[in-house]
């Protein structure tokens, strides 16, 4: 019959086999205890701590914040809704009895249908950027490497089993925690760097396309405003002599619509700046993907995150309808 120790060896071996990830040698749970014991008894504790420290920490709150704010900025869809709604707004501003009214309505309805499909596709672009940024943020987060709780249980089990003297359990917990965190950190850091490297070209391209779309939306918005402007001016001029009150009301309404139109154009400009900052911030990550730790790099990413957050706040406050 197998002894208890042999049973544990088999279980430990199984755990090692189960836990190996492709291209990555993790610190398996059972052998981590053994390793700790060996290091402890051979006086390698200091060496282990130094090694773990040199491996660096892979928690990047600045990257996480940048990714979160970028995701929030990319998720701002009102710009698309305004573009989609423009033909409907234009239809309201066709002067009654205008000889071109019937053609204009047919044209606008066709455009509205086409834009509905376009906006569905454009929203995919925003969703892709948003999803990417959320995933990037999760990779840069620290919650995934907090192995403390699980390892605590492991060490407790070892103390119960009398493998580890109780008075050394606390120190062992710390050491195993560092080893496991370092292993996870290194894996995650490598993944983070790889993901940034692979994503940069398509992301920059998508962000560039979104800026192009923004410029086109601006032309669309100006066309809608031109139609609105002509409509109110026609009403004002037509009513000026015979119905002065109606002319004043039309002028007042015209001014209100002008303000809303200006807010839409402002929002478009703010959104373009947001996209530019997301692109520039990610380019910074790409340029420093192998060394995200230096204070200057972190400060620069934090700065992009702050700027994007400010722009997102402006977008949220804009009254475009």
């Amino acid at each position: 019959m197998d002894s208890d120790a042999t049973k544990l060896d088999i279980i430990g071996y199984a755990v090692v086999q189960y836990s190996i990830l492709p291209g990555y040698a993790p610190v398996p749970a059972y052998s981590a205890v053994e390793l700790t014991m060996q290091m402890w008894h051979r006086g390698w504790l200091a060496t282990g701590l130094v090694a773990a420290t040199l491996c660096g920490c892979a928690n990047f709150p600045e990257v996480r914040h940048f990714a979160a704010k970028s995701a929030e900025g990319a998720a701002f869809q009102r710009i698309l809704d305004d573009y989609q709604g423009a033909p409907g707004r234009q239809e309201r501003f066709v002067v009654p009895d205008d000889a071109a009214a019937a053609d204009a309505r047919a044209w606008l309805e066709h455009n509205a249908a086409e834009r509905k499909e376009q906006v569905r596709r454009a929203k995919l672009l925003l969703t892709a950027v948003c999803e990417y940024m959320q995933t990037l943020g999760a990779l840069a987060g620290d919650e995934l490497v907090s192995a403390d709780q699980e390892l605590g249980g492991l060490i407790d089990a070892s103390v119960d089993k009398k493998w580890l003297p109780e008075d050394q359990a606390g120190a062992a917990k710390s050491l195993v925690d560092i080893i496991a965190d370092t292993a996870l950190s290194k894996y995650r850091q490598r993944q983070l760097s790889k993901v940034i490297e692979r994503a940069n070209t398509p992301l920059q391209s998508v962000l560039q396309h979104l800026q192009t779309l923004d410029a086109q939306f601006e032309v669309s918005e100006k066309a809608a405003q031109e139609q609105m402007d002509g409509y109110y001016r026609f009403l004002e001029k037509s009513a000026a002599r015979t119905e002065p009150v109606a002319a004043l009301l039309a002028r007042d309404r015209h001014a209100q619509e002008d303000d809303i139109g200006a807010a839409r154009l402002d929002a478009l400009a703010t959104y373009t700046k947001t996209l530019q900052d997301i692109a520039a911030g990610h380019q910074k990550l790409f340029d420093h993907r192998e060394h995200l730790d230096p204070a200057a790099v972190r400060a620069s990413i934090a700065d992009y995150a702050r700027r994007i957050a400010k722009l997102v706040d402006q977008l949220k406050q804009s009254r475009t309808s």
């Binding site: 544990l8 279980i11 596709r121 999803e131 995933t135 390892l151 070892s158 089993k161 396309h209 002509g230």
Partner: protein, 135 residues
């Protein structure tokens, strides 16, 4: 005939919009000197020019969106891979949990206490199930 590019379409749209604006300025600046029939005709032309501008910009957006396909597919693919990497990190954490449960079971077996063994076995089963569902 070669199709118009996105920038050609934008430029044309802006030109039509500029023409509509100029026509509108003329109409309202000269309003008093124009007979009603001319006013109506000019207003109608303004509407048509604005519609053409709108239509051209809708086409430009369509062309731009067609151009995004490759980049979009690449970005989606990178994101999927990144999520897989996250899953591996999570499953490594699951492995630690499973290992803890396994050792707990082994410890319970060595004590010979039936209740402890049952509790530890249940704990292990739960962890294995959780690891499988998250893997």
């Amino acid at each position: 005939m070669e199709k118009l590019s996105e920038s050609d379409l934008v430029q044309l749209s802006q030109s039509f919009l500029g023409a509509a604006h100029a026509l509108s300025d003329f109409l309202f600046d000269e309003w008093d000197s124009l007979p009603p029939v001319v006013r109506a005709r000019l207003n109608s032309m303004h509407t048509t020019l604005t519609m053409v501008s709108t239509d051209l910009i809708t086409h430009a957006v369509g062309v731009s969106l067609d151009d995004t396909r490759t980049s979009l597919e690449q970005l989606i693919s990178v994101t999927a891979d990144a999520k897989q990497a996250l899953g591996k990190i999570k499953s490594f954490k699951n492995t630690i949990k499973v290992a803890t449960a396994l050792i707990g079971l082994a410890t319970a077996i060595s004590t010979g206490d039936a209740l402890h063994i049952l509790a530890a076995a249940n704990g292990l089963a739960g962890q294995l199930e959780a690891a499988d569902s998250k893997a």
